[in-house]
C-alpha cells in the first residue's frame, strides 16, 4: 500500500497549490516618458514611489488615461523607466521576469486554443512536458470553476468565463507577482462582483503580491490591502490608504461594512479632484 502511494506520480499538483514565497515590489522615483509622433516627449509617469508588501494586495486607482497601465508595464519589464528604479524581490527589473503574471484588460486568451490548451500554454512555453502541463492546467481549470469546459474554444464562452480562463492561465505559472490591468472592466456589474470574489479566493490559495489597476473605487477598496491614488496624468502618487477591512471579504457584503463607507468617503475625497481635472482635459480635447 505504502509503496504504491510513493510511486504515484500525482502528488505534485498539491505542491502547485501551496502558497508561493511572496516578494516585495518597490518603485522608487520612477519616471517614464513616451515620444509622441511629433517628437515631443510626454510624461506618462512622474516620480512615482510606493511599495507593495510581500503577499499583499495593492490597488492602484486614478482617472482614466492617467498612466496606470504604464506603471504595470514598468513592473512587468516590458517598458523601462527613464529615471528611478523598479525592483521586484530586491532586484531591479530587467526584462520580463519568470515570476510575473499579467492579466490584461482586453481579452488576451488565444482564440485558437481550447480552454485546457490556453491554461496549459504557460507551462508549455516554459518547457513543462505536455502531459504534466495538461494535468496542471486541468487542475486550474477546475479551480476557476470551468470543469467540463476544457474542450471549449474561447468564442463559445461568455466574457466572465473567458476572464476565468485568463486567471487560470496566469495563475498556473505560480507567479509571485500578479499584475492586473482593469481586468474586469469589460464585464457587467453582477459578473464583476462574482469575479471579485473569485479573484480573492484564488489569491488566497497562492498569495502572490498583487498590483491591481482600476478606475473603480469600490472595486479597489473591496479587493485591496492598500489603495494608491494617482493624479491625473502624468501620474504621481497623490495619497496612499491602508484598507484594514477584515478578510475573507465578500464583494457584496463588504460594501455595507461601516468602515467601507468611511474609507470610500476618504479615498473619494483624494480621487475626486483628479477625476475632475481629467474630465475637464477631456472636454478641452474634444
Amino acid at each position: 500500500m505504502r509503496t504504491e502511494l510513493r510511486q504515484d506520480p500525482e502528488p505534485e499538483p498539491d505542491a502547485a497549490r501551496q502558497p508561493v514565497t511572496p516578494v516585495p515590489i518597490v518603485l522608487d522615483g520612477v519616471t517614464k516618458r513616451f515620444a509622441s509622433p511629433r517628437g515631443e516627449h510626454r510624461e506618462a509617469v512622474r516620480d512615482v514611489s510606493f511599495r507593495v508588501e510581500p503577499g499583499s494586495f495593492t490597488a492602484v486607482i486614478g482617472p482614466t488615461g492617467c498612466g496606470k497601465s504604464t506603471l504595470l508595464s514598468l513592473i512587468c519589464g516590458t517598458e523601462r523607466p527613464e529615471s528611478g528604479t523598479v525592483s521586484v524581490d530586491g532586484r531591479p527589473v530587467d526584462g520580463i521576469g519568470q515570476d510575473i503574471g499579467f492579466v490584461f484588460q482586453t481579452d488576451a486568451v488565444f482564440p485558437w486554443k481550447t480552454v485546457l490548451g490556453n491554461v496549459a500554454a504557460g507551462p508549455r512555453f516554459r518547457g513543462v512536458p505536455r502531459a504534466r502541463a495538461q494535468a496542471l492546467a486541468a487542475d486550474w481549470v477546475r479551480r476557476v470553476g470551468l470543469a467540463g469546459f476544457e474542450r471549449y474554444h474561447p468564442h463559445q464562452l461568455s466574457g466572465g468565463m473567458r476572464k476565468r480562463v485568463a486567471l487560470a492561465q496566469t495563475l498556473v505559472n505560480r507567479p509571485r507577482v500578479l499584475l492586473m490591468d482593469e481586468p474586469f472592466s469589460g464585464l457587467d456589474v453582477q459578473t464583476r462582483q462574482i469575479m471579485s470574489d473569485e479573484l480573492l479566493s484564488l489569491w488566497e490559495l497562492t498569495r502572490p503580491s498583487v498590483v491591481f489597476v482600476t478606475h473603480d473605487l469600490e472595486e479597489a477598496i473591496t479587493l485591496a490591502d492598500k489603495v494608491v491614488v494617482l493624479t491625473a496624468g502624468p501620474a504621481t502618487v497623490k495619497e496612499e490608504f491602508d484598507i484594514d477591512l477584515p478578510r475573507p471579504r465578500d464583494a457584496r457584503e463588504i460594501r455595507h461594512h461601516p468602515d467601507f463607507v468611511r474609507l470610500h468617503e476618504l479615498v473619494w475625497k483624494a480621487l475626486r479632484d483628479e477625476v475632475r481635472v481629467a474630465y475637464e482635459r477631456g472636454l478641452g480635447a474634444a
Partner: protein
Amino acid sequence: MNGKSAGGSTRSAGARTVPDVAGAAQAGAVVPGGAATVRRTRLRGRALVVAVGRVAVLVVFLGTWQLLAATHTIDTFYFGRPSGIWDRLETWIRHGTSQGPLLTQVWVTLQETLLGFGIGTTLGVVCGIALGRMRLAADILAPYIKTLNSIPRIVLGSVFAIWFGLGIGSKVALAVVLVFFGVFFNAFQGAREVDRALIANARVLGAGPVQVTWQVVVPSALSWITTSLHVAFGFAVTGAIVGELLGAQQGLGLLISQAQANFDPDGVYAGLVITALLALTAEGLITLLERRLLRWRPRPGSNR
C-alpha cells in the same frame, strides 16, 4: 436566461451537459427548442429554392444559347453551341484528343497547377510571416517587393519558356510567380495585424520569439492565409494554362490553343469547361481545409 445567447448554434454549450458552476449562467448555453426547429425547417425550404433556382439559371442559359444557335440567330462559327461542346467533350473522353488521351492532358495541367500552387503558397507563407516578424527587413525590402509586384507577371511566361523550355518547368515557374505575391501579401499582413495583447500575453506567460511566431503569429495569420488560397488556386490554373498557350507539348492550354487554331469554338469552350471543373473541385477542397484549420473561429451566422 440572457438575451445575447438567443438562437441556436448547435456547437454551443447547450448541446452538452453544462456543469453547475456560477459561470454557467453566462455561458452561451442554448437548449435547442421549438423555435429552432421551426427555423430549421424554414431554412431547409430556402435551401431547396436556392438549389432549384441555380439549376434553372443554368438551363435557361444553355437553352437560350442552344436555341439561338439552332435558329441561326448567332453564328456557331464564332459562338459554338452547347450540344457541340458536349459532343466535343464526349469525343475527347471516348477517343482521346489530337495530342493523346484527355486524361493525360488534364493530368499534365493539374500537375503544373498543383506544383505551382504548392511551391508558391509555401514560399509566400514563409516569406510573408518572416518579413511580418522582421520590421527592419520588411522596411528595407518594401520598395523592391512593390516593384516586383507591379510587373505584369504574365510576361514572365515568355521568359520562363526560354529558360525552362517547353516542358512542365516553365509552367510551374509561371504559376509559382503568380501565386506567390497574393499569398505573400496576405501572410505578411496577417503577421503584422496580430493582436498586440496576444503577443504580450504569450511573452509574459514565458514564450520566446520562436514560440511567439509558431503559437501566436502563425495561427493568428491563418485566416488571412486561407483567404488568399482561394484566389491563389485560380492564379495557379491561370499560370499553368497561359504557360501552355505560350508553348507546350501537352496539357489543356495546348488543347485550347489548337482548337483556336482550327477555328473550333466548341473545342475552346470544352477546354474551358474542364478547366472550370478543376478549379471548382479545388475550391471545394480549399474550403474544407479552411474549415478544418479554423475550427476555433465562430461560424459566420452563429450568434457571436
